[in-house]
Symmetry: C2
Subunit: 502 residues, 2 copies
């Protein structure tokens, strides 16, 4: 395999950008090409998540190659939801490694801020399994459910978890304040964090990356430069939450990390800093655990200890991360690699010299993840092996079943959604419920109080959507249902689906 070097990087300032997607991409590309010597490239790999719906244009690769004034050059768009930028790096890497091309431009961008929040939320939610979407689930809702499960599994009190998430947000905003391309250039205080409203409990506004316009660009080369990509890896995970065996770790990251570490022949202890996908603050914690830096359940403590601060043992998201730098979805995976290159060149915020960095990008709800390892070409060689922690379960695929669900179940995890997609009124209680047969399903709650993991619930199905009711309130809701459908109360024995078993 031919070695792959980085010969140029570029980025727009992230945030609201009045230009078109093609123009934003050109801005980033021109900076990267000017940074590269020579400037000519053989091909272009473009990452974008959903320009079709965000901008109303398709055929984006041709549009961008035209806008760049490079018409004629091969240009391919690659897409893996919110990790599309990392997928473009991966495809560009293979193009150089194969010997097909000597030098390629990797480009990734997204234009989002011109749409309403509800339109953007709807487009972003299309990455989620259709059935879970029908319940009103959004990306923040699923991330919140993962977080609640994490809290329960590792026996964290609500305030302990809040402290951890707050610490991630404060650290990343502090880092972003020093990054001229970051969307948010202000440090925030604990009070500001705590005053921000809940998007989906326990996640607050300041736990979620913002809606952003922006693009990043990278020139990859077969000719030696000061930084090379030494390892790339990709892994996928189940699309739906209900198909998962584990919620507090992402097998897609574990698989990607295993491949990237093996290709680079390094292990977590050889890594000096990381840029990880903190679209939600708890995901930064989970990512640092999945990448092997901290044991499962210990990533939050590391943040509180300051281990991942810019002057800590392992700086995580020294650029500000998606949280503060901004998250133009398709661009983020590439922006991480650009930031890591800047850091390795010694032009970043880190005070000390670093030799190796890692980036981790998440597509959808950890359905399609990438890990990329970069190193200075003067880094002393090491040969370490890393295997994912033995606690990582195998990914068991189960076909979606249409079997009739049981009428009772137990809450596996839940959230109360305060920013709902069109057609759903807040507050919206959502829970992943395990029915008596052991099947998981996403359900809407009739009431947002009294929710906790392990709570017994009744289940009903109406119009393709499941509803749950906390057991003690069953009579009240039963009456409401009857009133809703203007029927007389049916005897439980006749009402085979949805009624409580006696």
């Amino acid at each position: 395999m031919n070695p792959v070097y980085i010969s140029g990087v570029g980025m727009t300032k992230f945030g609201k950008n009045p230009r078109s997607l093609a123009e934003i991409c050109c801005q980033a590309a021109e900076i990267a090409l000017a940074d590269s010597d020579p400037q000519a490239v053989d091909a272009i790999y473009i990452g974008a998540m959903n320009p079709e719906e965000f901008t109303g244009d398709s055929n984006i690769a041709s549009q961008i190659v035209d806008a760049l004034g490079l018409t004629g050059i091969p240009a391919i768009r690659v897409e893996t939801a919110s990790s599309a930028g990392a997928a473009a790096v991966f495809a560009g890497f293979q193009a150089i490694a194969s010997g097909c091309y000597r030098r390629v431009l990797v480009l990734a961008g997204e234009k989002m801020t011109h749409l309403s929040t509800s339109a953007t939320t709807r487009i972003l939610a299309e990455v989620i399994d259709k059935r879970e979407r029908q319940c009103g689930a959004t990306m923040p809702a699923l991330a919140a459910m993962v977080t609640e499960k994490y809290r329960q599994k590792f026996r964290l009190s609500e305030s302990r978890l809040e402290n951890m998430l707050c610490a991630v947000a404060l650290k990343n905003h502090l880092n972003g304040a020093k990054n001229p391309t970051a969307q948010f250039q202000n440090a925030i205080s604990r009070d500001i964090y705590l005053a921000s409203k809940h998007i989906a409990t326990p996640l607050r506004l300041y736990d979620c990356a913002p809606i952003t316009d922006g693009a990043a660009a990278l020139v990859l080369s077969a000719d030696k430069t000061d930084v090379r990509i030494s390892g790339v890896g990709q892994g996928t995970g189940p699309l739906s939450l209900r198909e998962r065996d584990v919620f507090t770790s992402f097998p897609a990251t574990l698989r990607a990390a295993e491949r990237a570490y093996a290709m680079a022949q390094v292990a977590p202890q050889d890594i000096d800093f990381a840029e990880v996908h903190d679209a939600f603050t708890p995901f930064e914690i989970i990512s640092t655990e999945d990448l092997g830096f901290f044991p499962p359940g210990k990533g939050g403590e590391a943040v509180l200890r300051g281990d991942t601060a810019i002057d800590g043992r392992l700086p995580v998201n020294p650029s500000g991360g998606l949280k503060a730098r901004g998250h133009p979805v398709g661009a983020s995976g590439l922006a991480q690699v650009v930031e890591a290159t800047i850091t390795l060149r010694g032009q970043g915020p880190l005070k000390r010299e670093v030799k190796r960095g890692i980036t981790q990008s998440t597509g959808g709800l950890a359905t399609n993840n990438f890990v990329t390892i970069l190193e200075r070409t003067d880094a002393p060689p090491v040969t370490h092996l890393w295997t994912p922690p033995p606690t990582a379960p195998p990914i068991a695929h189960r076909k979606q079943r249409n079997a009739r669900i049981a009428a009772e179940g137990v809450i596996e995890t839940f959230t109360i959604l305060y920013v709902t997609p069109d057609g759903f009124l807040p507050p919206l209680a959502l829970a992943l419920v395990r029915d008596r047969h052991g099947e998981l399903l996403m359900a809407q709650g009739e009431d947002e109080t009294q929710l906790k993991i392990g709570q017994d619930v009744y289940l009903r199905r109406l119009g393709g959507v499941y509803y749950f009711t906390v057991k003690s309130q069953i009579e009240v809701v039963q009456q409401a249902f009857m009133k809703l459908f203007r029927r007389k109360p049916a005897k439980p024995a006749q009402n085979s689906q949805g009624s409580p078993r006696k």
Copy 2:
């Protein structure tokens, strides 16, 4: 570069398919995996043009890897408009050639028939430059303008051109009738062709590939099999028609062919058969010229002579092509490679043994094209060089200008559109007009009669859209305009924009 072999192929029957896109893709993948030994793959490359808008789902790579029961395996979607299937082959080729993977599944599909024709037309038209779309231009409209220009450039009478296009349609339907996976399995007669209505003059219904559901699949392997991919090439061309220097040849194909021939070290005379992108019958003729099989302007005669028939010197589209096999946009480029593999294995419709085949796929209006060369591993080696014909002009990129256009111009090419997008009433006259400054622009006509290439017209701009009027009718239209805007006729000297010069 590691050699890349084909170890398995699969396809669904093209046509209306009631299943979901993921299920259709699984159908094709299962056939290809069963055809491959061993069946395990390291990664999946998925081509799809616009599942976001056709099906309402994004994150299609994760969705498909899940549906296949292969969750965990890396899966990347690649997209280059209607050549996405060929782009997936290209990306899969690089993945094996780089040594990253030993065996990959290449999969491509599209689900289109569940939408109305107007919705599908709108989604397909998003590949076109936005300004040209604003005039009402669709893919058939632009293809028709290219065809009219071809007729004029090569001095073909209307009936001579009609004979040529009819011959392509009849040939491909005859071939499709022998292909069990083709959408149309009926030969058509000249009378049926001539009785079909015009979509966009001079193109009739039978000149256009149909709307189709379908998927194709391919297993690529580093281990030797009976067929290998010996050359791949990609090229891009200007997105908009008005940025082009040449209309009757596609530089994107020339560039892709140059690269593919060079990699395979063969020339057109070494090729035994071709599968080319006949989304419109004239494009088959242009493609065979661009691939170097016939001189410019001579491809049509070759069809009439029977050179490209299934028993001719160079069978073109022995599978029936997009015209008869059907055109699920993202799948077509891969379906061509699948068909070529079947033909090389001796399981296709060709009576004689063949050693080398070529496929050519077109993205958008020839904005992103691919050429793939396949050969039997027992083919005797040849080393020929091919360079694109010297008539192929360099691709000059010109930035879009906002300069004020002249008020007069000449029709460069035109069409009358009978199947219009929503918001436009048929018949809709569209012309590419060269103004007095030499700038090309797309304009809507006030009248669909009296159109011919070289016709002098007046130009006006209203609401971002250009309109043209054939010179002799100017007074009539001027009055209509004045009435429309309820203004008194202005003196020409005061009306600086849009009025005819004196």
